[in-house]
């Protein structure tokens, strides 16, 4: 286990280090602005990095768990030759915010437990994560503070906080330490004071401006279990378009479909997996036609319960990190976990 270390690094020195990584050919991904939106893209220069708002539309999980990826390739030639396609190369993910770092922290747990997912893990092992502190809320929909996700739980190599002319760097791994070894120094008492002040100001700002979670965080599993038959599910479900947008933008959703794709020669093909969504009608449909979660409200309940009941209880962490993306993406504004949980809490007290 790597003991947590803290360092400070000058901005120009850090940017030079990133430039050197880009120069070496290693892929570096970071939030990049385009028009009034942002998304994670491969960058060619550190100047492209968007350090603050707006939040990326899609979380960075696609870098380790692509929207679609080949699992096996095969060739039918009298016999059948099958080969797994594990492709992964070193990469750096820069400027990731705590909600997304924590989401990756959670995905690491689910993909590395029994039946280890080699595809995810091979990319993950090759990925250096350099996080960036959030000093102001990224949207009105975000509620990371309420999900204990304003601070990363782990999973990062380096986590940076802007303290003016320099970055305060929390180092999570040996890899991260090596990256900074030549350019960083120990923080002075003054640096630590600065960091403390910035964080206190940040905490006050988030606490003042982010929506409140009415039940306590650790009480969510019990609340969801006890209100399994709450009218809230059906009422919100009625408005659901079953579009699956909430699943697609979620940093912790990891359900996937597996399907075959045959080349035009009908001899070679591949089996790929692609993101799937539990809010889609056919998600549980079997060949006989039976749909095991047919009601939209039941699907909404499943999605919310997966985040803050089933997986929360299993792993001890909420599987919604409060990024707020689903609340933004939802066309009928029914899906935001914090709003559902607050409503259920209120209704249950009646």
């Amino acid at each position: 286990m790597f003991g947590k270390k803290t360092l400070v690094v000058g901005r120009p020195a850090f940017f030079d280090a990133v430039a050197n990584i880009i120069e070496s050919g290693t892929e570096v991904f970071a939030p990049v602005r385009y028009e009034d939106q942002a998304n994670f893209r491969r960058i060619n220069s550190v100047g492209e990095v968007l350090w603050g708002k707006p939040q990326t539309v899609i979380p960075p999980k696609f870098i380790i768990f692509p929207q679609s990826e080949t699992l096996i390739r095969y060739e039918m030639n009298g016999g059948i030759n099958v080969s797994s396609t594990l492709d992964s190369k070193p990469a750096v993910l820069l400027g990731v915010h705590p909600c997304d770092i924590n989401a990756i922290f959670l995905l690491d747990m689910v993909f590395s437990e029994k039946n280890v997912d080699e595809y995810y893990m091979s990319r993950r092992k090759n990925l250096i994560i350099i996080g960036a502190d959030c000093l102001e809320p990224c949207s009105d929909e975000s509620f990371c503070l309420r999900k204990d996700s304003l601070t990363p739980w782990g999973g990062y190599d380096i986590f940076l906080t802007d303290i003016g002319d320099r970055f305060y760097a929390e180092v999570g791994t040996k890899r991260g330490e090596e990256l900074l070894s030549k350019i960083a120094s120990k923080p002075s008492g003054d640096d630590k004071k600065k960091l403390k002040k910035i964080r206190e100001k940040r905490d006050r700002l988030f606490n003042r401006s982010q929506k409140k979670l009415k039940p306590s965080l650790r009480d969510l599993p019990r609340l969801l279990r006890e209100n399994y038959n709450s009218e809230v599910w059906g009422k919100r479900g009625e408005k659901c378009l079953s579009c699956g947008s909430c699943n697609m933008v979620c940093p912790t959703c990891y359900c996937f479909d597996v399907r075959d794709c045959l080349d035009l020669d009908l001899r070679r093909g591949e089996r790929l997996r692609a993101w799937d969504g539990c809010m889609l009608t056919d998600f549980t449909r079997v060949a006989s036609g039976e749909i095991f979660r047919e009601e939209r409200g039941a699907r909404l309940r499943h999605r919310t319960s997966r985040k803050d009941l089933y997986l929360f209880e299993k792993w001890g962490k909420p599987f919604c990190t409060g990024c707020g993306r689903c609340g933004i993406a939802c066309l009928t504004k029914i899906v935001s976990p914090i709003e559902i949980e607050n409503e259920i809490y209120e209704v249950s007290k009646r």
């Binding site: 016999g79 080969s83 797994s84 689910v110 039946n115 045959l262 799937d276 060949a287 209880e313």
Partner: protein, 270 residues
Amino acid sequence: MTAYEPEIARITGIEELTGTEKLFKIELSRDRFDHLPGQFVEVSVFGVGEAPISISSPPTGEPRFELCVRAIGNVTNALHRKKPGDLIGIRGPFGRGFELKDFRGKDILFIAGGLGLAPLRSLIWSVLNSRKQFGEVFILYGARRPQELLFKNELRMWEERKDLRYLVTVDVGDESWKGNVGVITTLIPQVEFNPRRTRVVIVGPPVMYRFVIKSLKERGMPDENIWVSLERKMKCGLGKCGHCQMNHLYVCQDGPVFRYDEIKDVPEAI
């Protein structure tokens, strides 16, 4: 090799059971294949896809097994077009199966509805192959129509055996059908069993469980003496893809076989 890479297997024989079901004999090139009754494999028809299919034959340790498959989806229809000698892919076996130790020394009541006989056949023959280790054996089987009855030769053998009681019913009869007509629950009053000594195993379409369990409960059957095997959509078999989840349980890993007391409070189960 990753967990998604299937082993290549050969279809060594195909038996047409009904108009929609075929029994495929599968052979792997490895030395052994070990499975439990109730477990399933992911079957690949390359170029079409994968489907979860329960193993129909009792465990032998040999690298050979049987799959009873209804032509109903893309993969199963493609499988039905295969000929003996053709190659398919196999991953697995997956999931939790039936453990014979839970049934030894007990009376056993098998209740199969429709295609539910396919997985149940693996357990039935496991029991019949070491018949002396078990008490009384009842087999109740229901199908929609007489022509949909599976494994007709074996049904005749069970009918003639003196060491078990076999009852069959169809939802809708025809001119030649002389037997019971009615849903499977109509057979339950026809058997005498001691609820404490009996273990019940139910496999059938999703709609069947609630009614069968209700009739059994009325006869005093304790929850922990009832076993079921549940069907769900399954893509990975590894507890990751999420399709088979019912509340907190993954059917592909925690099931498909469950003891009823484990799932009676799981609202999405039955």
